[in-house]
Symmetry: C2
Subunit: 282 residues, 2 copies
């Protein structure tokens, strides 16, 4: 198996997540290279010693990398792979961070160059602040990471990527199918962002936070989302997201009815079940 410290890592897309990956890998690899369309970001990252070298031409960087971390939105990712597939180094290992996995896995099962390996992943970390300049605010320590391996993935490559993930500070890795990932992420991530945005939509008073005690702030922080990225995630995972919204609406409706009809015992039972279930979640 490859050793992390002997590998040249390439980061494609030096935004919030690409920057956080580079920061988390710094000093643990042979070299970190990065490709971005923004020269200024590459220069800053090199000056700050977050990366060893920046590239604005993928074909110059890709052949030198043992491992490539693709830190792009789903659609940009697929376009990038289509365009630059021939330039990856022979036998190199690819992984990504996209928040929907079904379209990525489907495309890679079909189109990946035979000598390459691509392990789809999703680091469950982020920040309402965007861009490379905010990469430090994207904390990996103690966070979850999901892998949705392809049928063709080599066991030793999966082991290698897991080592990389733990070395970056993540504490829990779950392996599952792309479909299961998309079903669950529609709930834990996309539905939560939808709720946060809807909560803000229904209250135009900017001074409402004078009446906040923490709950409102916690529930709506993620309304400060990256708009193009989340628009894409919502639409890419539309079917599962709509199913989750409908489930949530049913649960909300049940609770609303209990309040409206002042069914105190049933209301208490509903809240008690929620309390115990949430407390048992680790």
């Amino acid at each position: 198996m490859k050793k992390i410290e002997d590998c040249t890592f390439g980061v494609v897309g030096l935004g919030l997540m690409g920057g956080a990956v580079a920061l988390a890998l710094r000093g643990k690899t042979r070299r970190i290279l990065a490709y971005d369309i923004d020269v200024a970001v590459l220069e800053t990252a090199k000056k700050d010693e977050v990366i060893d070298e920046g590239f604005i031409e993928p074909q110059e960087m890709l052949p030198m990398c043992d491992v490539v971390y693709l830190c792009l939105n789903p659609s940009t990712l697929l376009a990038f792979l289509d365009a630059w597939m021939p330039f990856f180094g022979a036998g190199s290992l690819l992984t990504d961070i996209a928040g929907v996995k079904t379209p990525i896995v489907a495309a890679m099962e079909e189109k990946l160059r035979p000598d390459l390996d691509f392990i789809p992943g999703h680091p469950m970390a982020g920040s309402e602040k965007g861009g490379f300049a905010q990469a430090k605010s994207c904390v990996f320590t103690g966070k979850n990471y999901i892998l949705t391996p392809l049928k063709r993935n080599k066991a030793e490559n999966i082991e290698f990527i897991k080592n990389v993930i733990y070395r970056m500070g993540f504490s829990r890795i779950t392996e599952t199918t792309a479909e299961d990932h998309d079903r669950k992420i529609a709930f834990t991530s996309q539905l939560c962002h939808v709720i946060a945005a809807a909560l803000i939509d229904c209250e135009p008073d900017r001074n409402i936070t004078r009446f906040g005690g923490g709950s409102f702030e916690d529930l709506t922080r993620i309304a400060m989302l990256n708009v193009p990225q989340w628009t894409e995630l919502f639409l890419e995972n539309k079917r599962e997201l709509l199913r989750r919204i409908a489930q949530f609406e049913d649960s909300l409706d049940k609770l609303k009815t209990l309040v409206a009809e002042e069914r105190k015992d049933d209301l208490q039972a509903y809240l008690q079940t929620a309390r115990e279930r949430r407390a048992s979640m680790k």
Copy 2:
């Protein structure tokens, strides 16, 4: 005007909030007395030097207090005031912490003993952990506090209570009517708790947190609520809460439609407005 350091404070109800009030006042007053039905809690609080003396009989404590902090649920509070009104010290100042204000204000405008002053308040702080033992986890520093004065309140008593509130660590005090409080709290607090409970209601899988990236955890932490307390708050403020749930459902429905119909530009505009509005909230 009274000086805080010369006053004997009485805390009625030494639970999470009563305990947190006593902790925040410790060392800043002449004495802190406390009434509770639980002798063990009073003994612990005295042993830990959070209070100077504990009482299980209100009529023994109340006459000694210059200021009484009533830390009870709304219905218990009104029953307590009905039962013990004659025993408050002449000219003493009362304040409460109840999460709905309209019924309290209505009752006090009518029933308060003429020589007393009662300033209804709501510290916007709490914890999903309950009881005196968890009082330390209820942080006041930097938090909001709402006051809904009675018509009869003396200006100097309002000033005094504001000083007490700032001394306890709160950073922002808003004065408003009980009706305005209940309308806004229905949104910032009760609706958020309803949403958290409904989110947990619609997902029985306790391992779903393996797919959490922080948003889900932040949105559902408050599902671990104090069940009897929140049942009472929801029902006491039923009309405003139902109105807020309906508003939220409308906003959610708008967003759902944009996703379902893949109206990308409108979806981006909706999210952009939410993002900017939330970012402008202080």
